[in-house]
């Protein structure tokens, strides 16, 4: 346990001591909240939604997931930096199994993403989005799971990279499509067939669905369109997390140097 907590602790303390990271981590959710709260949503009217509040209710979970996605994935840049600066080598020669190193790094990214997502989530009631305590607790659980899976997805790639530029290039290619096609922005009803299929094969679609279901558990608001069921979404999200973690551990073990 000691190696896991110490690696996790280092990820957190480093984040806290890099003032620009800390600042942007707090500012990013606030900017989203301000933009959405000040009536941005009035410009969008997707199929199946009615009225301004309706769309905001639909869109807000998507924004929370966006924050989770970016923070989780970009937290793993620390692996690329550690490799470049040489710090990673000294962890690799220590008698700590690779699965523990990856788990600790993943928990670090998860913690940071979760705190940011939570900040945004707690601001939601101020712009008319309602949810109960059970919903909140369940949502935090789902957010943790999502952040963990996404951080591992980042680690899977970061462990192969030796430059941050390369990491940024790959991530930019991947992140926006994953998010856009998750149903964060528009539901899959009424989109062309190929797009609907792309959304069906996107694991984040299910992550977002389970988050939305959890958040609006005890309100009358239901997910828009024909989204996947809670059970299926939960199953796929759990599977995604497990696979991403196993994949990241496997990559870390193969990339010994």
């Amino acid at each position: 346990m000691l190696p896991i907590t110490t690696i996790w602790w280092r990820e957190i303390i480093r984040f806290y001591r890099q003032r620009s990271r800390l600042f942007s981590a707090i500012a990013q959710p606030l900017v989203f909240w301000l933009l959405i709260g000040s009536g941005l949503s009035a410009s969008f009217q997707p199929a199946g939604a009615s009225g301004e509040t309706g769309y905001m209710t639909y869109f807000y979970p998507g924004i929370v997931v966006l924050v989770l996605l970016f923070t989780s994935i970009f937290a793993t840049i620390s692996v690329v930096n550690d490799r470049r600066e040489g710090f990673l080598q000294s962890i690799l020669v220590a008698p700590v199994p690779r699965w523990q190193i990856v788990l600790a790094q993943a928990l670090g990214g998860t913690t940071l993403a979760l705190l940011q997502g939570l900040l945004l989530l707690l601001l939601a009631p101020t712009i008319g989005i309602r949810f109960g305590v059970t919903s909140l607790l369940l949502s935090i659980g789902v957010m943790t799971l999502l952040a963990f899976g996404l951080t591992n997805l980042g680690l899977l790639i970061a462990w192969r990279m030796d430059s941050t530029q390369g990491f940024h290039a790959i991530m930019n290619l991947l992140l926006i499509p994953i998010w856009l096609l998750s149903g964060a922005f528009f539901p899959s009803t009424g989109v062309p067939g190929w797009l609907a299929w792309a959304m069906k094969f996107n694991p984040l679609t299910y992550g977002l669905a389970v988050f939305r279901h959890s958040l609006y558990l005890d309100t009358t608001t239901k997910a828009f369109g024909e989204g996947p069921s809670w059970a299926l979404s939960m199953l796929i999200t759990g599977l995604f997390c497990a696979l991403a973690y196993v994949g990241a551990t496997f990559t870390a073990s193969a990339q010994a140097n």
Binding site: L2, P3, T5, T6, I7, W9, R10, I13, R14, R17, Q18, E85, G86, F87, Q89, S90, I91, L92, V93, A94, P95, V96, P97, A256, N257
Partner: protein
């Protein structure tokens, strides 16, 4: 076997080139071994293999009786490694870096606290313990780095170019300290270097050239093999002078960037005679005892270049 590092017939090839070619050597606890080699000689590859970061593809390595290929996990427990690139986190303080390292090796609580204090004291950084590493000078960082590698009381200490970036005084101090450490704690010290001065301070030296171990032994022993003295002659026409000298006394000469180089017994007499024989051709003569550079030159036919090693 139990207190030795044994490398047998170790070879390693990258897709584009061969880095190690059938290397065999053995180092005991209490001994300081220096692996000397110029840029691209393969010493960083050997270092990475010994530090468990690269897999063995051909040959065997045993460290204190454990097989490196199959028991790497056990070896890591008693291995201390100092890499060329700093393994410290600049955003953490000295103490935080040491504590992090101790935790990775399963140390905690009072035991860890005491060990940290001991090492801070020993390396003279106690008063700066709470400062962030990023504001320390290069020499100081190096000291903390070595303190860190000793925290878990390793029995084998591997150092990759430990003196790079240090000034002469700091280099001397480090070499002295490693000597004391090997003696008093019976630690096996294995270091790579491209600096002849560092290699001279080691108990034994291996010289690596394009992946082959061309020499292995005590520095004095190796230098004795060069035979007699080393003479360096500068001339306006080195080519013809070289041929003329060989015809005159039968000693073969080698043309280097610094002039004509030759080895002979009783160098002082040779200098007197050669200047008398070729008064017009010779601009200057240098006379010296052989160094490890001469050993390298004799064995490989190439001059030894003390270049900063930037090999991967």
């Amino acid at each position: 076997m139990e207190n030795r590092l044994e490398v047998e017939n170790l070879s390693y090839a990258y897709p584009e080139r061969r880095a190690l070619d059938n290397v065999s050597l053995s180092v005991s606890c209490g001994e300081i071994f220096g692996l000397l080699g110029p840029n691209g000689s393969g010493k960083t590859t050997l270092f990475k293999i010994l530090s468990t970061l690269m897999r063995i593809t051909s040959g065997t390595v045993h460290i204190l009786g454990y097989n490196l290929a199959t028991e790497g996990r056990m070896i890591r427990d008693f291995l201390g490694v100092v890499f060329q690139h700093p393994g410290l986190d600049g955003k953490l303080t000295i103490v935080e870096n040491l504590r992090h390292h101790g935790h990775l090796y399963g140390l905690s609580g009072k035991v860890l606290q005491r060990r940290i204090s001991e090492l801070l004291e020993c390396f003279g950084v106690s008063d700066r313990a709470k400062e962030r590493v990023e504001i320390l000078s290069g020499g100081l960082q190096r000291r903390v780095e070595i303190a860190k590698s000793l925290l878990h009381s390793p029995r084998v200490l591997l150092l990759d170019e430990p003196t790079s970036g240090l000034d002469i005084t700091a280099r001397q101090q480090l070499n002295d300290y490693l000597g004391v450490l090997a003696q008093t704690e019976d630690i096996l010290v294995f270091m790579t270097t491209h600096l002849l001065e560092d290699a001279e301070t080691c108990d034994r030296v291996g010289i690596l050239d394009v992946g082959r171990l061309v020499a292995l032994g005590e520095p004095d022993e190796l230098k004795a093999e060069v035979g007699g003295d080393v003479i360096l002659i500068e001339s306006t026409n080195s080519d013809t002078l070289g041929t003329a000298i060989t015809e005159w006394c039968g000693v073969s000469t080698v043309l280097t960037d610094n002039g004509l180089r030759l080895e002979c017994e009783h160098g002082h007499e040779f200098v007197r005679d050669v200047v008398a024989e070729f008064p017009d051709e010779i601009q200057s003569v240098r006379f010296g005892k052989p160094t490890l550079a001469d050993v390298f030159m004799k064995l490989t036919g190439n001059p030894f270049v003390e270049r900063e090693d930037t090999e991967n």
